[in-house]
């Protein structure tokens, strides 16, 4: 029986990005002990399918992707689980895009390119909402 406090329960992380390098980078660089990667998807459609199967608690989400873009995907994931925490990780640096992603249900925004520290700070801030 675990004696962890409820706030310390492991959380499942799904990584969504059309770049294999970025998917691997996020998996390798994230140092949050509570996060366990349960899968990665390369477009929005794959992400929705993977989300249904793995039920992640936390998602990192690219925006510019083939098949289904990240904004539409955010909306579909939130419809499946309103409590999912979504960190958008995108190169689209204009404020309007960040605001739109937040309005559709994302919880945070990290602009590419990013350092390991910026990634972990953004994930830690996201989890503070959990």
């Amino acid at each position: 029986m675990s004696n962890r406090a409820p706030g310390e329960q492991p959380l499942k992380l799904m990584i969504v990005d059309d770049s294999n390098i970025i998917r691997r980078r996020i998996e390798r660089s994230q140092q949050i002990a509570r996060l366990q990667v349960v899968g990665a998807a390369s477009n929005g459609r794959e992400a929705v399918e993977l989300f249904r199967r793995t039920r992640p608690d936390v998602v990192t989400m690219d925006l510019t992707m083939p098949e289904m873009d990240g904004v539409e995907c955010v909306e579909q994931l939130v419809a499946l689980n309103a409590n999912v925490l979504i960190l958008v990780v995108s190169a689209l640096a204009d404020k309007a895009t960040a605001v739109e992603a937040i309005e559709r249900g994302a919880n945070g925004f990290l602009c590419k390119p990013f350092t390991d520290r910026q990634l972990n700070d953004a994930l830690a801030e996201l989890l503070s909402e959990a």
Partner: protein, 148 residues
């Protein structure tokens, strides 16, 4: 036609990319104009289509040696051709996406198209392009901006 301030947006994008991704600054040479529709390409080219507020393309092109070292600086051990192509597309995507900070959300960018080992296939939609030379470590690359 691009204004001087718009060129600076892309220059900033290049320097920010290398500083942040590799912790090693790149130096950028003086941008110049190519009028013959042939700005040239290295081994690998990541091309982003631009639509909406502006129309044209932005591409990042680099030799394999530079991209391999760039991958290694990013702690990526897989330097296969697939990952090199992924990287060159991602660099183009990131610099183009960052430009929306100045150009706004109606500067719509496509997913990357990658051309490898065939520089002749890299063409521009207009004859006039701006070329931003990039030097990083011992390597040379360039960002080409061709916008109506």
């Amino acid at each position: 036609m691009l204004k001087e301030a718009e060129i600076r947006t892309f220059v900033r994008g290049v320097t920010h990319y290398f500083e942040t991704s590799t912790q090693q600054a790149a130096s950028v040479g003086s941008p110049y104009i190519v009028m013959d529709g042939k700005p040239g390409a290295y081994d690998y080219t990541g091309i982003i289509g631009i639509s909406g507020a502006r129309e044209g393309i932005v591409y990042f092109t680099a030799p394999r040696g530079m991209l391999t070292v760039l991958l290694m600086r990013m702690q990526e051990t897989d330097t296969s051709d697939a990952n090199i192509m992924d990287l060159v597309g991602e660099v183009a995507n990131t610099i183009s996406g960052n430009a929306r900070r100045d150009f706004g959300q109606h500067f719509a960018i496509s997913v990357p198209t990658v051309v490898a080992h065939d520089a002749e296939k890299v063409t521009t939609p207009h004859v006039r392009s701006f070329v931003i030379p990039i030097n990083w470590r011992t390597h040379s690359a360039k960002l080409v901006v061709c916008l109506e």
